[in-house]
Every structure is written in structure tokens, then in C-alpha cells.
Amino acid sequence: MRAYEDWVVEAESKGLKISSVVLQNQIEELELSGEALFDRMGNNLKVMRESVKIGLSGKRRSASGLVGGDAAKVEEHRKSGSTLIGEVMSGVIAKALAVAEVNASMGRIVAAPTAGSCGVLPAVLFTLEEIFHSDEKELLSALFTAAGLGIIITERANVSGAEGGCQAEIGSAAAMSAAAAVELAGGSPRQTAHGAAIALKSMLGLVCDPVAGLVEVPCVKRNATGAMIALTAAEMALAGVKSAIPIDEVIDTMAEIGHQMSCSLKETAQGGLAATPTGRKIRADFL
């Protein structure tokens, strides 16, 4: 079982970024050139970018009608000059909702790491692109950092709502996004670990309780809050704030909490919000 700490130590000793260490590891494991890996990751980035754009247009609705149009509302609000948290951060919310709405309405997305959590990473990534004017190569590198942490999460825990609850899906996406954001913002490998740990700690215990079993309520909005947690964690890490509990131990804890979680709270639509009177009514009306 590998540890993210191993990659941090390797990056520090060689003076590399986490993304370079992950890339080198994948060149060996997949027996592909760095160029081929970047090309393939480029397809992911392209689809992520398209899904943000399509979602922001606000034209899509999910089959149940529960989801759609909220990304456009936030985007309009943000441009109205009356945004509460500022245009940049408001944009994070709009982008995350956009991608998650595209997913809920049978549009094309990149599972990151899952379809239900597909909005977090694009929202964080394209917001940083706006702030730092990052180029394609930097964005792709950040995706390798995010995916690298994801690999560690799948080895030590899982990224499945049915196995670990929402903490394993949106939580993993937030941690991966925080690591990517820290690197993209110029933070050190050690700081990516702190950012990821702070983000994942903030998501521990979150249950997977989709109303009517659909990837809509509360999943779509949790993409937006997950993205904000990722950026909050990244900001702390970049400021030099440390996580008292190291990332690998946080991941192990996430696995353990998922294990202890009742089955009714792991994607079965039996408990949590799915079991509320309104949740049950939505299910009865739709199915």
C-alpha cells in the first residue's frame, strides 16, 4: 500500500513537483510516453471545459426535473454586482453546479473521480486558470497531481458512495482539487499534502443519501460546496497552515468511517435526505 507521503518525500528530495513524480510513476506503470499521457489527459481537460460552458448556458434539465438552471442563476447573480463572496468565488459555485447539472441531465462529463462528484475539480481548476492565467501544460500537470492523490485514496480507501458514503466521492474530489490548486498556485509538495488533508478532514462523515436514488439531490449542490472547501483548504495550506493529522491517516480514517457507516447511508436511498417526508414524496411522484 502506497502513501502520499512517499510521493511528497520523493518530490522534495528531487526538487520536483508532485505532478512530475506522478507522471514518472505512470510512464512506468502504463508503459506510455509522457507525451502520450499528456495527450490523453488533454481529452479530459477539453471535455471538462466544454461541460462548464454547456452547464452555464442553463438550458439543461434532469429527467426528474429536480435539477437544472441553478448554475445560470448563480452566474447571473455573480455578474450583477451584488455578489456576497466576490466574483471569483461566486464563479467557483457556478462552474461546479454547471458541470454537475450537465451530468444530471445526461450530458457529457469526465468522472473526477466519479460522475456524482464531477463538478468539483473543473470548478477549482478553471477558477485558478482565471486567477493565474495558467497555460494548458500547467493545468494538465495539476490534473496529474489530483489523480495522483486519487490513486492513493483508492489504494487506502475508495471513491465509491456505495462503499464509503459521500465523503468518498465529493470528499475525495475536494481533496484531489485542493492538492491540484496548491500546486497550480505555486505551493510546495508538502503544502499539497496539507491542503488535501484539510479538505478531506472537512468532508469526513458525509453520507450518501440521494433522493429517489438519483444523482441530483443533494449531489449537485454538494459539488459547489465541495469545491469551496477545496479552495478554503488550499488557501490555508498556501498560507503555511498545517494539518495536524497527515493526509494518509486522514484517508485511512475516511475508509474506517465509511466502514462504520450504516448501509442506509451509502447510496441505497434508504436513509438521510432520501428518507425525509419530502424526499419520499419526490420518489413517489417520480417513480
Binding site: 489527459m41 464531477c118 490513486i151 489504494e155 438519483l214 444523482v215
Partner: protein, 222 residues
């Protein structure tokens, strides 16, 4: 479990909303189509468990049809699959049933083409991964990761040896192999997953072996 790579974590590129109920459903449809080995004309699709319960909201039904008419999980025409199927003259009917002690995301296809009819049962086992569990009366375990050779034959001594010798001669390495039969001496099914692509010529030679009734090569899913 094999090691994850970066594209397992970022990917697949897919039409939403669910990797298991949508992307996995497309792949199940694709596999069923490959097993039929021709354009399906009629289909009865039976949904079990979570597929039956939450399939509607996840587009599981349209995703299964999309796979059956040859679409990939990232095809943006997936929501239009029922219409496109109709245009092609493919008639599909859905049913719900308890298929027994199987994975919650399980589907049974009863497919008819111009030449063949086949029953295929498969499950979407998470993250878009699938497992074909049954073909007609035979239990199998095909996940679409490898080129797969499916052979219907008479349960007689030496049939397996003939096939493996033929593959060895063609420099095709067998990764996994499973043989099952209806009863002693009756029909049997051999499923071989291989490391190399099974060329049409090899398949034709397989079909000419004695005691072989049918042979089908299934290319791996993308």
C-alpha cells in the same frame, strides 16, 4: 485488484448521470450486442434490483438501448437512443423482474437478430465496470477487458485441447479460461480471455474444428 492509474481517477469521459447506472449500462448493451454478433431486431430487456428501482432517473433504459445499437458511453446521442433504435427498426420492450441472488444492478437481454437469438445476463459492478454472468444457459464471467473467445461445443474429450493448440499455434496467449456444460456429454460452453486479438482467420479455423457448434470473438470494451 489491479492498480489504479490516473485515467481511472479522471475518467471515463461519459454521458451522465451515473457511472454504474448509465456508463455501465451502455457497456452492458454493447457486450450483449457483441455476443449476439449481429444487428439486433427485437429485444426484451428485464431490469433487476437497483436498475429496476432507479433506472428511470439514471437513464439506464436509454443507456442499455444506446449500447445495443452500438454507441459508446461518451456518445452525446445516448438520450436519443430509443428514437434512433426505432429508426433502425429495432423493437425493444422493458420488463422488471427479480432475477434472483444477483448483483443489484443486473439486466437480462433476450435479443433476436436476423440469424440468431441469445439470452445474456450481466451486471454493472461499479465505476462503469461490468460483468457478463450468463449466456443462454451457461454461466460465464466476461468483463470486456480482454479479447474473448466464446465457443459452443459438444462436451467430448479433446475439444478443449484442440482449441488451445490452435490458439498456441496462432501465438495467442490465454489469460483466463472457463468451461461449463449443460450436462455430461451435452452442449458445453468454453470462454477464453486472451492477451492478443483473435483474428478472423483464427476464428474461422476454430469453427472448422470437429464438435464446435459456434464460435464468437468479442473485442474488448474501450
Amino acid at each position: 485488484m489491479s492498480k489504479s492509474n490516473v485515467f481511472d481517477l479522471l475518467g471515463p469521459i461519459m454521458v451522465g448521470p451515473s457511472s454504474s447506472h448509465t456508463a455501465g449500462a451502455v457497456r452492458l448493451g454493447t457486450m450483449a450486442r457483441k455476443i449476439l454478433g449481429e444487428e439486433p431486431l427485437e429485444g426484451i430487456i428485464t431490469l433487476h434490483g437497483s436498475f429496476a428501482e432507479t433506472g428511470k432517473g439514471h437513464g439506464t433504459d436509454v443507456a442499455l438501448i444506446a449500447g445495443l445499437i452500438g454507441m459508446a458511453p461518451d456518445d452525446e446521442r445516448i438520450p436519443d437512443a430509443p428514437e434512433l433504435a426505432k429508426e433502425r427498426g429495432f423493437k425493444v420492450r422493458f420488463e422488471k423482474a427479480d432475477l434472483g441472488d444477483v448483483h443489484p444492478n443486473t439486466v437480462k437481454f433476450d435479443l433476436t437478430g436476423s440469424k440468431e437469438r441469445v439470452i445474456v445476463i450481466g451486471s454493472s459492478i461499479g465505476g462503469g465496470a461490468i460483468l457478463i454472468r450468463q449466456i443462454n444457459n451457461f454461466m460465464v464471467g466476461i468483463n470486456g477487458d480482454y479479447p474473448t473467445l466464446v465457443i459452443l461445443h459438444q462436451d467430448l474429450p479433446g475439444v478443449v485441447a484442440q482449441v488451445t493448440l490452435l490458439l498456441a499455434t496462432a501465438q495467442i496467449n490465454i489469460a483466463t479460461m472457463r468451461v461449463s456444460r449443460e450436462k455430461k456429454g451435452a452442449q458445453a460452453l468454453m470462454v477464453l480471455e486472451t492477451d492478443q486479438k483473435i483474428e478472423e482467420a483464427v476464428l474461422e479455423l476454430t469453427r472448422r474444428l470437429p464438435s464446435i457448434k459456434q464460435a464468437l470473438a468479442i473485442e474488448p470494451l474501450e
